[in-house]
């Protein structure tokens, strides 16, 4: 009896098991995509080329037809495209016309650390090409080697390549599930209550309606983290999409900013928001500030994330939602690191998800 109990305990504590899935061909026709170079938002030199090759390999195995590198390179050179962190309307149209791909896969590397335990965080999205490009799928993953160490550290991952493979497998499956089976990753919906906004304001006039269209404008980065604003934009885009908003591709928003010559001084003003409403045809504009975005290397440290957002409505020309979220990775952790979050990505994505969910409720 006691042996059985001990076995159950060990089995239960042995960390997260990798569930191998059958990589059978998709049920319908294969989607033809281009995989853009990985955008490095980690702030350090990171192996983005090998990561891109791994993504391409995984996507091919999951039933995607990926445009050859040579053809993509020629397209980027011919059209003088240097920014590959997003796609504007013109690029999407020309890409479809010249290469025939139906969507673009864009990945942004947020964290890469190969110090033991390794850490890795990446956000990716699939944007349709042709007329009216839209975000078809968006997901992110943030993993640390010691997320599930289990008993006697049997579940500890010390090899960064193994961790990256695991993360990319999760991410590419999420993409394939959305595109071919129209399902969402189950873990993405698990939220911990401690990541709710600390302060929130919701105007009585906020009625998002059915699938409201929203543009997330660049967030002001007041954190010490390089690219903290860009990373948080991706987290918020993903959260709003998951909450039911029709999120405008960030490349289109960037292009509108350049065309309208908007230079924000301390955040978006009502005049700038009004100009954006018309150009990108949205119901809401979301802006804000990143206050904290701190990851740590190695085994000891605490992840920190903090941001404030404001949602401006097209109909009222006023702020209809405002919130402040502040969390540490060890919030409400009392025993044996139970419930501890080791990457800021894993925490910030939940914090952003709460914001998105509370806006539509």
């Amino acid at each position: 009896m006691s042996l059985c109990a001990a076995l159950l305990l060990v089995w239960g504590c042995a960390g997260t098991k990798e569930v191998s899935r059958n990589e059978a061909p998709p049920p319908g026709p294969r989607l033809s995509i281009a995989v853009f170079p990985v955008e490095n938002l980690s702030g350090i030199a990171a192996p983005v080329k090998p990561i891109r090759e791994m993504i391409i390999g995984q996507l091919k195995r999951k039933g995607f037809n990926v445009l050859e590198d040579e053809a993509l390179e020629k397209f980027l050179v011919r059209n003088r495209i240097r920014y590959t962190g997003g796609v504007d309307a013109l690029t999407a149209r020309v890409l479809k016309h010249e290469t025939g791909v139906e969507a673009v896969f864009m990945a942004s590397l947020e964290l890469f650390s190969d110090a033991v335990p390794p850490k890795f965080a990446l956000t990716a999205r699939l944007v349709s090409t042709g007329e009216n490009p839209s975000v078809l799928w968006m997901d992110g993953v943030g993993l640390a080697g010691d997320d599930s160490p289990g008993i006697l550290a049997l579940g500890l991952i010390e090899d960064s390549e193994k961790l990256v493979t695991k993360a990319l497998d999760t991410l590419t499956w999420s993409c394939a599930d959305r595109v071919y089976y129209n399902t969402e990753r189950a873990e993405a919906s698990k939220l911990q209550g401690k990541f709710k906004p600390r302060i929130s304001y919701r105007s009585p006039g906020l009625e998002p309606g059915r699938r409201p269209r929203v543009a997330v404008v660049p967030l002001f980065n007041r954190s010490g983290r390089k690219y903290g604003g860009e990373i948080m934009v991706l987290n918020l885009m993903r959260a709003l999409k998951s909450a039911g908003f029709d999120v405008v591709e960030s490349g289109i928003v960037r292009s509108a900013f350049l065309n309208l010559r908007i230079i924000m001084e301390d955040g978006i003003s009502l005049g700038e928001a009004s100009a954006l409403f018309g150009v990108v045809n949205v119901d809401f504009v979301l802006g804000g500030r990143v206050l904290d975005y701190e990851d740590y290397e190695g085994a000891s440290g605490t992840a920190r994330a903090g941001f404030s957002v404001q949602l401006i409505s097209r109909s009222s020309q006023k702020v209809v939602w405002s919130s402040l979220s502040l969390n540490n990775g060890d919030d409400k952790v009392y025993f044996f690191d139970w419930g501890r979050v080791n990457t800021t990505h894993a925490m910030a994505s939940q914090m952003a998800q709460f914001v998105g969910d509370m806006m539509v409720k």
Partner: protein
């Protein structure tokens, strides 16, 4: 016997003085009695003057205060981007300490009935011997935009090293918690 009572009384008195000396809250509030605060619907929170070592602290406190004030539902707080545009439009040289004329100009530029200015005097960890704790000290003023005069002024200090911190250690409360407490106190003072 009388001596024992006198000694105990002295000890109690000294302990009371000591404890009150360590109290981390202070209140210096001014309300203009002639001001109709009900007429104020839209306000702008200006950048706070920062007298601390942390260069981003004032921005952080301003953000928390803006959200707190908006979440009360009693006032509409103009977005910070709009305030920045207004500051540029009204050509305010020192946004942390605008003159009454500049306040009037700003009021008409961004259509607000009042402007809130303030200063962050303390923010971060304080140490005394082996004890350490987080402390915040902030003061705010509300200026009405018809004449540019001060109609409300309040200040709050929260956190710091308490008797229990000295005796048992512990490091005090987290900075975010202390900040929220101080700003809640200021909002209470404003609406009183």
């Amino acid at each position: 016997m009388k001596r024992i009572f006198a000694f105990t009384g002295c000890v109690l008195f000294l302990a009371l003085v000591f404890v009150s000396g360590c109290t981390t809250s202070s209140r210096d509030v001014y309300h203009d009695e002639k001001m109709d605060f009900g007429a104020v619907q839209n306000v702008a929170v200006m950048p706070l003057a920062n007298f601390t070592r942390d260069s981003l602290a004032a921005d952080r406190v301003r953000d928390v205060f803006t959200n707190k004030l908006l979440s009360t539902g009693a006032l509409y707080v103009v977005p910070v981007g709009e305030v920045a545009k207004g500051i540029a439009k009204a050509e305010i040289a020192v946004p942390t300490a605008p003159s009454p004329e500049e306040v009037v100009k700003l009021g008409s530029a961004i259509k607000v009935q009042a402007v809130i200015i303030g200063a962050l005097r303390e923010y971060g960890e304080v140490r005394s011997g082996t004890a350490a704790a987080n402390v915040i000290s902030v003061n705010l003023q509300m200026l009405e935009t018809q004449t540019g005069r001060v109609v409300w002024s309040g200040s709050s200090t929260k956190g710091g090293i308490t008797v229990s911190d000295r005796l048992f250690g512990g490091g005090g409360q987290p900075m975010d918690y202390v900040t929220e407490k101080a700003l809640n106190d200021l909002i209470d003072q404003l609406f009183k």
